[in-house]
C-alpha cells in the first residue's frame, strides 16, 4: 500500500465528520474537564495541598498537574474513540464504512486520528486551566507534547478496540470505569510511587499507567518515578500491542463482519 493509492478523501471525510461532532458540542466536551480540573485544584491543590510538603522539590499543586492531565486524556481518549466507532455500529450506519472502498488503515486513521486530536486539545486546555491555579514549569516541552500525543494515540486505539468489542452501552462504560479510573488513581497521578509502602511499590510497577504519568511528569519537572526511557518504551509497547489487536480485528472481521 503506497501513499498515492491511499484513499485520502475517505480518511479526511471520517476525520472531518468526527471533528464536526466535537466542535458542535465543544462547550460540553471541554466544560466538564475544565470544571473537574478546577475542582481538583480547589480540593487537592489548595485545601489539602497546603498541608502537604513538596514532592521532589515541586509544590503539591504543581506536582499533580501532569497526573491530572493524564487522567483526563486517558479517559477521554478511551471514551471518545470507543464512542466514535460504537455509535455507527449501534445505529447501523457502519454498513457504509464496510461497503466503501476504504482499508482498515484508513478507517483507523480517520477515527483514531480524530479522537486523538480531541484528546490533545483537551490536554492542552486542562494545562491552560491548571496554569491559572499554580505556577507550572515545563522543562522539556517537546517531550511533553510527544508523551501527550503518544498517550492519546495509544489510548484512542485502545478505545477503538473497546468500541468494537462492546455489544451494549453498558459494556462500553465498563473499561473506563472499572479498569482505567482505578489504574489511574493507583498510577501515581496524585503522589510519587516512592511514597507507597514496600509491596505496593512493586505492585505499582505492573500498572502501565505509572509509566505514562511518570514520563509525562518528567517532561514537566525533570524527575520521574521510573527512568524516562523505560516510560517511553512502555508507552510504545502498549501502542504496538493495540495496533496488533486492531490488525487482528480487521483480519478476522471480529464483530464487524459476521
Amino acid at each position: 500500500m503506497s501513499a498515492t493509492n491511499l484513499n485520502w478523501r475517505a480518511i479526511a471525510a471520517i476525520y472531518r465528520f468526527e471533528m464536526a461532532r466535537f466542535f458542535r458540542t465543544a462547550g460540553q466536551s471541554l466544560a466538564t474537564p475544565v470544571i473537574t480540573t478546577s475542582l481538583y485544584f480547589v480540593v487537592f491543590g489548595a485545601a489539602i495541598g497546603g498541608r502537604m510538603g513538596e514532592i521532589d522539590g515541586v509544590g503539591y499543586g504543581a506536582f499533580i498537574v501532569p497526573g491530572l492531565i493524564m487522567l483526563s486524556v486517558l479517559t477521554e481518549s478511551l471514551n471518545n474513540a470507543a464512542f466514535g466507532i460504537y455509535f455507527p455500529r449501534w445505529t447501523g450506519t457502519s454498513y457504509e464504512l464496510l461497503s466503501a472502498p476504504v482499508s482498515p488503515f484508513e478507517i483507523v486513521s480517520g477515527y483514531v486520528g480524530a479522537a486523538a486530536t480531541k484528546s490533545v486539545i483537551l490536554g492542552l486546555v486542562i494545562l491552560a486551566t491548571a496554569s491559572l491555579f499554580v505556577p507550572i514549569q515545563i522543562l522539556h516541552p517537546l517531550w511533553m507534547i510527544g508523551f501527550l500525543a503518544l498517550t492519546a494515540l495509544s489510548f484512542c486505539l485502545f478505545g477503538f478496540i473497546t468500541g468494537i468489542w462492546a455489544q451494549s452501552w453498558e459494556q462500553l462504560q465498563v473499561i473506563p470505569m472499572l479498569v482505567i479510573t482505578p489504574l489511574t488513581f493507583l498510577g501515581g497521578a496524585f503522589y510519587s510511587i516512592d511514597m507507597l509502602p514496600g509491596v505496593w511499590k512493586t505492585v505499582a510497577l505492573f500498572n502501565p499507567i505509572v509509566y505514562l504519568v511518570s514520563g509525562f511528569r518528567w517532561a514537566f519537572y525533570g524527575n520521574a518515578d521510573v527512568a524516562v526511557g523505560i516510560s517511553l518504551a512502555a508507552t510504545l509497547g502498549f501502542l504496538v500491542a493495540c495496533l496488533g489487536v486492531v490488525w487482528w480485528i480487521f483480519r478476522t472481521g471480529y464483530r464487524l463482519k459476521p
Binding site: N7, R9, A13, F17, T91, G92, A100, P101, P258
Partner: protein, 308 residues
C-alpha cells in the same frame, strides 16, 4: 458484453451453522433491473451483504465489472451503491453533510452540484439543512438512497426499497429506479411483492431457503403467467383420461371427478370449444366448468413448495 456482476458458487454459512445461502451462480447484465423475490428469511439480504462487503463469504467468488471483490476491493466497491433494508442514518447530521461524507468515503472529490441534483430529485432539497433525526421515515429512506447515489455507482442495490413506504412514494421510487436505469445504472432490488417485481424488473430471481430456484426474464414469466386452466367437473367418475382426449393433455383431478386443461390465453385457438364437443361425443356428462388464471403468486408458491 461482460456482466456487471458475476457470482460463482457464492455461499454463506453463519457462525450459528445456518447455511443462509447455498452455492449460487448468477450473472447480472449491465443496465438491467433485477428483482430478487423471496419470503422472509430467504437469504436476500445475506446475498447482498456478501456482495457489498458486509459479510464474509464462506465460499465462492464475486466479480463486479470483472473485478474480484476481495482482491480488487477498492475498484470493485467504488462501482457499488447500497441501500440496506434497515433504516440507519447519521441522526444528528443534515442530509447535505451525510451525503458529502458518503462521497468522501468513496474517495470522490466534493461535487455540490451533484449533491444538489440528487437532493432535489429525491424531494429532499427543502430538508437539506435539517437534522436527519427530524425527518420522517420515508424521507430517511430517501436520504439513504441519496447517500448511496452520492458517489455515482454503476450498480445499485436496493434492499426492500418500498417496505413501509406509502403508495405515492412507492410510485416515485419506481420512477426513480427507471430513471437510474435510463442513465445506465444496473439496479438489483429485493422485494416480497410480486406486483413490485412485475412492475419494475427486467428479470426476476426467486430465492427461498437460501436457494436461488429460478431466474427468468419477466416476459417469459409473464407468458407462464398467461396460462389459464379450465376445470371440468364430471357427473361420473373416470378411471383414466380417454384416448380420444389425448391432444388436450388433460390431467385427471379430484379422484377422477374432474378434468383439468391448461391453455395459453395468448394462443389464437384455445381449443375449448373442440374439447367440449369431444366430451359431448364421448358421452361424458359435465356438472360444472370453471377457469382460473395462474398468477406469479401461484408460480411462486408452487416453486417454493417444490424447493422445500
Amino acid at each position: 458484453m461482460r456482466p456487471i456482476l458475476e457470482l460463482d458458487g457464492l455461499t454463506k454459512t453463519y457462525a450459528s451453522g445456518l447455511q443462509a445461502l447455498k452455492p449460487t451462480t448468477l450473472a447480472i447484465r449491465e443496465g438491467e433491473i433485477f428483482a430478487l423475490l423471496g419470503p422472509n428469511g430467504a437469504g436476500k439480504t445475506t446475498l447482498i451483504g456478501l456482495i457489498c462487503g458486509l459479510l464474509r463469504p464462506s465460499g465462492g467468488v464475486v466479480r463486479v465489472a470483472g473485478l474480484d471483490i476481495v482482491e480488487d476491493y477498492r475498484r470493485a466497491r467504488s462501482l457499488i451503491g447500497l441501500v440496506p433494508q434497515e433504516l440507519a442514518t447519521e441522526m444528528f447530521e443534515t442530509p447535505f453533510a451525510a451525503m458529502n461524507f458518503s462521497r468522501g468515503l468513496f474517495g470522490r472529490p466534493p461535487d455540490h452540484a451533484l449533491v444538489e441534483r440528487l437532493l432535489r430529485e429525491l424531494s429532499l432539497w427543502d430538508k437539506r439543512k435539517d437534522r436527519i433525526q427530524t425527518l420522517s421515515g420515508g424521507m430517511k429512506r430517501r436520504v439513504m438512497i441519496a447517500k448511496a447515489l452520492a458517489h455515482e455507482p454503476r450498480l445499485l442495490f436496493l434492499d426492500e426499497p418500498t417496505a413501509g413506504v406509502d403508495v405515492e412514494l412507492r410510485r416515485d421510487m419506481w420512477a426513480l429506479v427507471r430513471r437510474l436505469r435510463d442513465t445506465g445504472v444496473t439496479v438489483i432490488l429485493t422485494t416480497h411483492y410480486i406486483e413490485e417485481a412485475e412492475e419494475m424488473a427486467d428479470r426476476i430471481g426467486v430465492i427461498d431457503k437460501g436457494r436461488l430456484i429460478l431466474v427468468e426474464d419477466k416476459a417469459t414469466l409473464m407468458r407462464k403467467l398467461g396460462s389459464k386452466q379450465l376445470t371440468v367437473q364430471l357427473q361420473e367418475r373416470l378411471e383414466a383420461v380417454p384416448e380420444a382426449l389425448a391432444r388436450w393433455r388433460l390431467t385427471l383431478k379430484d379422484d377422477g371427478h374432474a378434468l383439468e386443461y391448461r391453455f395459453d390465453t395468448q394462443a389464437e385457438e384455445n381449443g375449448i370449444p373442440a374439447l367440449l364437443r369431444q366430451l359431448h361425443e364421448l358421452g361424458i356428462g359435465l356438472k360444472d366448468l370453471a377457469t382460473e388464471q395462474s398468477s406469479l403468486e401461484d408460480i411462486f408458491v408452487s416453486l417454493t413448495r417444490k424447493a422445500a
